[in-house]
């Protein structure tokens, strides 16, 4: 079967996508719409994790503030909706432009720093966003904001029903997967990956690595804001709590579980994270303990996350993405 991808891991991922495609109808058929909600949330966060992976995994920029862009996206739905503007294209355009401009400004400052300093400065900027929304009394401050209706789109694109929303999420997910794949294998992507491993060498080759990184950071933020738009529509309730630094930590966690710097890893990691969170929290109120132990064990023993383990299935000498 020469048309199949050679790697077993890649085949498994494609199989996962094939299962995800008809999922809403299966859940509707067995009358378990709860699982559709769970899956929708997992895929939304999956998009966010993939966007973080773009800078964290491929570019080596560890941001502890990416949840800010989820928040910006969500508030770009919530605040217009508060004034009865429900046009979905407006929400999307607003989210992309606000997050893009914010990422351009903060990225331009943050990327002057490296390593620990980058971690801290991204966290600082996300805290500023957090406190901004926390202080906006008009939009609920820490009580949050209820979104009474979902973004409006033409009939065939409507996200009114759970299934419609699911296919918005799934479609966007496929787009982001495709875009990430193209981006990483483009000249631009190679410069980004190259400057992660040896920035001086890339500079010696004549690349202005700062600019490349900044563009990558802005792209990542804009994708993440789309996840925020979806999340705002999905939860129909938004609050500054979505932006706190612990949320950003969880996003990193999702990327790492799946496999940092791989195409499918963050998505798989997020699904595992959300499903585990749901089931463990149903079993015991102490489920954070299990999560914490997992996280410590993952770093100490489990190099490469789920993608790393699946790659062991691939034939030797072919263990590339």
């Amino acid at each position: 079967m020469h048309w199949l991808p050679e790697n077993i891991s890649t085949r498994i991922y494609l199989l996962v996508l094939l299962v995800l495609a008809p999922a809403p109808f299966i859940f509707e058929w067995i009358n378990e719409l709860f699982y559709l909600d769970l899956l929708s949330r997992a895929l939304i966060l999956g998009i966010a994790a993939m966007s973080l992976n773009l800078i964290l995994g491929f570019g080596g920029m560890v941001s502890l503030g990416h949840a800010a862009y989820i928040g910006i996206g969500a508030y770009c739905v919530g605040i217009p909706a508060y004034y009865d503007y429900y046009d979905g294209w407006l929400h999307i355009a607003l989210a992309l432009s606000v997050s893009g401009v914010f990422a351009l400004i903060t990225g331009a400052i943050s990327l002057r720093t490296k390593g620990v300093y980058f971690i801290m400065i991204t966290m600082a900027f996300s805290q500023m966003v957090y406190f901004t929304f926390l202080s906006l009394e008009e939009y609920g401050a820490d009580d949050g904001l209820v979104i009474y209706a979902r973004s409006e789109f033409p009939e065939w694109l409507s996200m009114e029903s759970s299934i419609g929303l699911y296919y918005w999420i799934f479609g966007l997910l496929l787009l982001v997967l495709f875009f990430t794949h193209k981006l990483v294998h483009s000249r631009f992507g190679r410069v980004i990956v190259g400057s992660k491993f040896n920035e001086q060498r890339m500079q010696a080759l004549g690349f202005d690595t700062y600019r490349y990184r900044l563009v990558c950071y802005v792209i990542s933020a804009m994708i993440c804001s789309l996840a925020g738009v979806l999340l705002g529509n999905f939860t129909s309730f938004i609050s500054p709590d979505m932006i706190g630094w612990a949320r950003s930590g969880e996003l990193i966690f999702m990327v790492i579980i799946g496999g940092v710097g791989t195409l499918f890893g963050p998505l798989i990691g997020t699904i595992v994270f959300v499903v585990l969170e749901e089931f463990l929290s149903a079993i015991t109120v102490y489920w954070h303990l299990i999560f914490g132990v997992m996280l410590v064990a993952l770093v100490l023993f489990g190099k490469g996350g789920i993608h790393g383990w699946l790659s062991l299935l691939d034939r030797k000498g072919e263990s590339r993405d």
Binding site: G249, G292, L300
Partner: protein, 307 residues
């Protein structure tokens, strides 16, 4: 202007600053010497409060609570260093962030498991519960004690770092770890002591604040982020920097919360000022950190000879 209010706010700022210093001094040393990012440093702050509260409840004495609390947190810090942190010093910072994020989850849940979800109030002995009268000024005794306690620890730490052999090694480690190792110092033991000492100081801060705010789960997770800001602003690895930065940030944060709206009212309509002031004052510490990182990334008071 209400001078009594100003003095109270100055004292609150000083108190916050000294608590931040207790947290940040350990953090900055762990950061500077081991190059280890410990997000879970705030957990020691929480554990200190709970240990102290429990022993206080059993023995009825806050002072015995503090002593046993300090020993307990020192031990927990040493265990974390020995079994987890030690294995990660040479990994990249991403691993540090992940593991210590995991430790936060573990410690928060363990506290939940042993002490329950609701907070723990710690009663103060009567002699600390009163007030000190200075002319027309009335100061709560315990707040004065917190400030005094913070200053004493700062003094002891200053002595330890500048006058003792251990302190010499610590300073040398913060400036150039490789050289210290090359000179044959038992670096593992040094790391263990620094880590556990840092944990104990964070725990002490938690014990000091708990009688006012009560001990609660996750109490360290907000203040630790500000302690990181202190570390960055002061310069990684610099205890002196941490001291000045902690006081600066403590005062800035407290005073801006009470006086920023008055300042803003001078330049904008008062309803805008009242909305903007709380947001800006909450952000002020982060704005300061971003500015320091952008223009003087080594911090305001970097350790001598640091790379």
């Amino acid at each position: 202007m209400d001078w009594n209010l100003l003095i109270t706010q100055l004292m609150n700022g000083l108190q916050l600053g000294l608590l931040l210093f207790l947290l940040a001094s350990g953090l900055t040393l762990i950061f500077g010497i081991m190059d280890f990012i410990n997000l879970s440093h705030g957990s020691f702050y929480m554990i200190g409060a709970y240990f102290c509260g429990t022993v206080t409840a059993i023995t009825g004495s806050f002072f015995i609570g503090v002593v046993f609390g300090l020993i307990g947190v020192f031990a927990v810090g040493a265990l974390v260093e020995y079994f987890i942190a030690r294995k990660l010093y040479r990994n990249d910072h991403l691993d540090h962030v992940l593991v210590t994020f995991g430790l936060i989850l573990i410690f928060d849940t363990l506290v939940h498991l042993f002490w329950g979800a609701s907070g723990m109030a710690i009663p103060l002995p009567d002699m600390l519960n009163g007030q000190i009268h200075l002319g027309s000024l009335v100061l709560p005794t315990y707040r004065v004690l917190i400030i005094a306690g913070g200053l004493v620890v700062a003094g002891v730490l200053y002595f330890l770092v500048t006058k003792t052999r251990l302190g010499m090694l610590i300073r040398a480690g913060a400036s150039n770890r490789t050289m210290v190792e090359a000179l044959g110092v038992d670096i593992n033991r040094l790391f263990l002591i620094v880590f556990a000492l840092g944990a104990a100081m964070a725990g002490f801060a938690g014990m000091l604040i708990a009688p006012i705010t009560e001990a609660s789960i996750g109490m360290g997770n907000d203040i630790i982020i500000i302690a990181f800001v202190v570390v960055i602003v002061g310069g990684i690895g610099s205890v002196k920097g941490a001291f000045y930065a902690a006081l600066l940030l403590g005062l800035l944060d407290t005073l801006s919360r009470s006086y920023l709206d008055l300042l803003l009212k001078l330049v904008m309509p008062s309803n805008y000022a009242e909305t903007a002031a709380p947001a800006i004052s909450a952000m002020l510490v982060y704005i300061l950190m971003a500015a320091v990182l952008a223009f003087r990334p080594q911090g305001l008071f970097p350790p001598a000879g640091a790379k």
